[in-house]
Amino acid sequence: MPREHVVSEASQEVIVREIARCQSRLRAFVRCLLVRRSDVDDVLQNINAVLWEKADEFNQETDFWAWASQIARYKVLNQLRSYGRERLVFDLATVERLADVAEHRLKELDARREALEGCLNKLPPPQRQLIDLRYVDGHAIDRIAETVGRSAGAVRQTLYRIRAVLLECIQRQLSSEGGAS
């Protein structure tokens, strides 16, 4: 029972700070390993609980992200093993592969987030409107399709292309910053 677990005060302070600092990364990490977006929060909650339970095991002289992402990976794998066959999930080997790449990519999440903001502002208005409908207004794809008078499949494809444009833009920015430094 996580809430009954006694964690020393020093570890408590460090772990709260580190969990908070890495929360965006952990969320994105879990998102990369799960098929269903709606499962992310539940799994993340469990990971936070395990990190808390294991707080005393964390060596403060080491990298918290490396430690936390390993725990997150095993937690996700265990979770996937517990699901029945009817549940749509990635194969475990796929999860391992995705986790390897995601763990590395997410080290630069803050830089990506910063670059994203600039890239969003560069999108032409119709593309920005579609992104807004999806993420700001939170509409489902079917609703967006109705609004813009296109099929759901076409909307999905367009969103995919817009995200591809954003990824290229982010990559360019990261490369130029890397080159400048």
Binding site: P2, R3, V7, Q12, V16, R17, I19, A20, R21, C22, Q23, S24, R27, A28, R31, C32, V35, R37, D41, Q45, N48, A49, L51, W52, E53, L88, V89, F90, D91, A93, T94, R97, L98, V101, A102, R105, L109, R112, R113, L116, E117, I131, D132, R134, Y135, V136, D137, G138, H139, I141, V155, R156, Q157, L159, Y160, R163, A164, L166, L167, I170
Partner: protein, 370 residues
């Protein structure tokens, strides 16, 4: 079309199903194969999912609501705030009603917390010297609270509303609400499934609403529906005016000491016809801050309600938050009556659900002209 193009299109289709759709078993089998066989596909899948997560978090301001449920540890949560300083300490971990702070918030404010704690400690020490004088009687305690509230410290209160029986207005009330106060100004934060909704009221009665950081709207006084008016009235906390009103229009009872607070009950004078009726004020002995305020409000045609404001946080103020522009990043993302009036209703309902039905009503003058 070349084989390579066709393969890229297929990969794109599968990823779009994964991010925005419901992939079929066959889609998933294909994706599994792709990820295991091609490094570039693995990277592409990861990049799209990370971007999806960033967009969800940044644009819709996902509240990172799963954060630190584990921190609801009895050691941390059992202690009630004995002073502003305690409240500041608590805020680093848990918000009212167990609500979790976004991680980014925690870090943005970490250094401020220490600064505010230090500031409040100094205020407490200085104020402590005059404690006996200041608490000589109820009036002086309330005056001290008014004075303390004028300091440049933002105080945040969790709000709980209990309707009178029977309620005259049946607007559904949100459960998790906080009101931030600075001097006589306030703004309100309501947690919803889609993220935080913030609102404030201008002096002319116009209400502004911020839905995350990317959408805002202004609702003019004659467009404010009865339900929104009700909510705005209930959660408003112009604390200085309220305390001054109590001093002028209420009879104060002898203060009672409860732990580290002084509790003053106030009942309206017979001549008082205002809609603020019985008031209970709990003032912290050290900081003079109002730790809890229970206000019985009686509004014509809306029945009575008892509103409890409980201090949960004290921090250095961010004055920009008291204006819509402080919440919404770009001014052209603010909807008004002139710009896409109908969209405001749809957005509100989409953001917080049926609760927002009828918040905006058609302007009477405009409908008469039609």
């Amino acid at each position: 079309m070349t084989d390579r193009q066709s393969q890229e299109d297929r990969t794109g289709h599968l990823i779009s199903q994964l991010v925005d759709g419901e992939p079929s078993r066959e889609n998933l089998d294909e994706l599994n194969e792709l990820v295991l066989s091609e490094t570039s596909s693995t990277s592409l899948v990861v990049d799209h999912l990370i971007l999806d997560s960033l967009l969800s978090e940044d644009l819709s301001r996902d509240s990172l609501a799963t954060l630190i449920d584990l921190v609801a540890d009895p050691q941390v949560t059992a202690a009630s705030p004995n002073s502003d300083t305690d409240a500041v300490h608590r805020k680093t971990i848990l918000a009212p009603n167990g609500r979790r702070r976004p991680a980014s918030w925690y870090f943005r404010n970490a250094s401020w917390i220490v600064a505010v704690a230090a500031l409040i400690l100094v205020v407490a020490i200085v104020a402590g010297r005059t404690e006996k004088e200041a608490f000589a009687d109820a009036t002086r305690i309330v005056q001290a609270a008014v004075h303390a509230h004028a300091e440049s410290v933002e105080r945040v209160y969790a709000v709980n509303v209990e309707r009178g029986d029977p309620p005259a207005v049946h607007s559904a009330l949100p459960k998790d609400v906080r009101v931030s106060t600075l001097g006589n100004s306030f703004w309100v934060e309501i947690m919803s499934l889609r993220g935080d909704l913030c609102f404030g009221r201008e002096e002319d009665g116009e209400i502004w609403v911020a839905l995350g950081r990317w959408r805002g709207m202004r609702i003019e006084p004659d467009e404010v529906g009865p339900m929104l008016q009700d909510i705005a009235d209930l959660y408003s906390l112009n604390l200085e005016s309220l305390l001054q009103g109590v001093l002028e229009g209420h009879e104060l009872e002898r203060p009672v000491t409860e732990g580290t607070t002084r509790v003053i009950k106030a009942t309206p004078k017979s001549s008082n016809r205002g809609w603020v009726r019985d008031v209970t004020i709990e003032v912290d002995q050290e900081t003079k801050a109002v730790r809890r305020l229970v206000v019985q409000r009686l509004a014509p045609r809306r029945g009575s309600a008892t509103i409890t404001f409980t201090l949960v946080d004290a921090r250095l103020p961010d004055e920009s938050q008291y204006r819509l522009e402080g919440h919404v990043r770009e001014s052209d993302r603010v909807l008004t009556r002139e710009s896409r009036s109908d969209r405001r209703r749809v957005l509100l309902e989409n953001w917080i659900g049926p609760l927002a039905k009828g918040w905006i009503v058609e302007n009477r003058q405009a409908s008469d002209q039609k």
